[in-house]
């Protein structure tokens, strides 16, 4: 569904993406892990269209999207949730979700009719709020939500664009165990209809959700495979899991 072909990107002398080739198959949850500074954020930036790759190609649903602007990728069905919560502070939960639904339903160059009277938008937004468990917070401004709720809304905004492919950049970041569990249940429920690329530090989440795991180190994919294979890959153990194992051994 999503194919990266020898994607390269450098900042000054630093090669943040060093010929990354990666394929995410339809219906899969593909996890991308790697230590800090491995180039995950740079790679995500290129996939969503925030950054232009220096070389290489990105194909989505068989179509070359390397030079497509970010908003058109969303219209093609590629959505992402951000590692650092990025919401519309004064928008309520309902308004935020309705806004995201609106992005992919009809033209937004409509100047006269109040959005509040478009029941189709409002109903979809309510349904989404239910799905992500924020239905009791509909009229709360995003800025007034608890951290965990903001993280959920972050994912909700991406979902509201009705994506075929969801790129989740550390969705569990800063969440308590209970909140993380709720989000994991939500993501498990989504896997039937959305393909996902999950970038996550939480290894429990990765090994529970992922069908495949790829490991990014120093801008290169050093291993890719089923979770248990990757776990036992000696190169991965040294480069990445090594830290945790060593810590556990002590």
């Amino acid at each position: 569904m999503l194919e990266l072909e020898r994607l390269s990107k450098h900042f000054g002398g630093v090669l943040a993406s060093d010929g990354v080739t990666l394929a995410v198959a339809q219906g899969q949850v593909h996890a991308l892990i790697g230590p800090n500074g491995a180039g995950k954020t740079t790679l995500i930036g290129q996939i969503v269209g925030r950054l232009k790759p220096d070389a290489g190609r990105i194909r989505f649903l068989g179509r070359d999207i390397t030079h497509l602007p970010q908003h058109e990728r969303v219209h093609a069905g590629l959505a992402c949730s951000h590692q650092i919560t990025s919401l519309f502070a004064s928008f309520t939960v309902l308004d935020s979700l309705a806004l995201a639904v609106q992005a992919r339903s009809g033209s937004s160059f409509s100047f006269w009719r109040p959005v509040g009277t478009e029941m189709a938008l409002v109903d979809q937004a309510r349904g989404l709020a239910h799905e992500i468990g924020l239905h009791e917070r509909l009229d709360t401004p995003a800025a007034a939500l608890a951290h965990g709720e903001q993280r959920v809304l972050e994912v909700g905004l991406a979902l509201a664009t009705n994506p075929k492919f969801l790129l989740l950049d550390e969705p569990m970041a800063g969440m308590g165990p209970e909140e993380a569990e709720r989000l994991m249940v939500l993501l498990e429920g989504l896997r039937a209809r959305v393909t996902m690329l999950l970038v996550e530090h939480d290894m429990d989440a990765v090994f529970r959700l992922a069908d495949r795991v790829s490991v990014l180190v120093g801008g290169r994919i050093i291993a890719s495979g089923a979770p248990h294979e990757v776990r036992q890959d000696p190169a991965v153990t040294v480069a990445y899991l090594g830290d945790e194992r060593a810590a556990a051994d002590r």
Binding site: H71, A89, L99, A103, S108, F111, W112
Partner: protein
Amino acid sequence: MRSALVALLVLALLPLALSAMDQGFYVGFASRVLIYAIAATSLNLVLGYGGMVSFGHAAFVGTGAYVSSIALAEGLTSAWVGWPLAVMASALLAWGIGAVSLRTRGVYFIMITLAFAQMMFYLVNSMKAYGGDEGLTLPHRAELGLGLELGNDLVFYYVVLLVLALTLGGLHRLANSRFGRVVAAIRENEPRAEAIGYPVHRFRLACFVIAGAFGGLAGVLLASHGKYVNPGALHWLQSGTLMVMVVLGGVGRLWGGVVGAAALLGLEHLVADYPVGWLVQIAPNYQQHANLGVGVVLLVIVLFAPRGIVGLVTRTRNART
């Protein structure tokens, strides 16, 4: 909604009250305030609703003023021809300026809009055929037809009031429409708006053009009001004045431009016409520097009521009524 209708009703009855008090002179002053209210409201659309700090709004007001005046000078006496022409010219200019300057952000955007406006200022300054730096005096106001004589100050007042009412009504609808929500979202978080699928630049440009068109309409009325236009209408001081009005009244508030224009022009008028005894003693010609008083009031507003006068009165958060 109800308070808006009451406010418009009061404005509609104002000339009657003024003539009853034998203060007919103030009808002209009230027209001027309402025209500035339209201009400030149009700036509030980009500045307050769109979050784009444009420091060149006078370019659109001035273009509207000049194009309508030139049309009149060239014999196009019908308002139905000259006015739309002027508004379209302002919109077109806004499209051109916006297409370039909206690629920048922050201080650069402020500076580039200022630079464009100053270019327009010098352009009209050098238009010798239309008065150059001396400005252009009009023999009469445009013709409206419909049995209405725009030359009559009372008729003119009601035309201005109607335009203001339509502007406010339009802005209210716009703010709550799909388009308005997207513009607000871009103001709040531009990268996120792009990330959920909105072509940010296109929306910002459309907002800028709409504001420019309404600014042009205000300019048309301004030139028509005084039957005179000069390059000062495009000067950056004019842009600054409009900005002060918006800040005074309330950034991003529907009535912000109206209240700000009334407050600023009213204050200027008070300072200039009613000497304060003890102040005259220490500063004999302080009245020629009305901006002194304005500066103090602006300072107080910004320090103690950052939401402007409208925000001070309503105190309801996020209520854009």
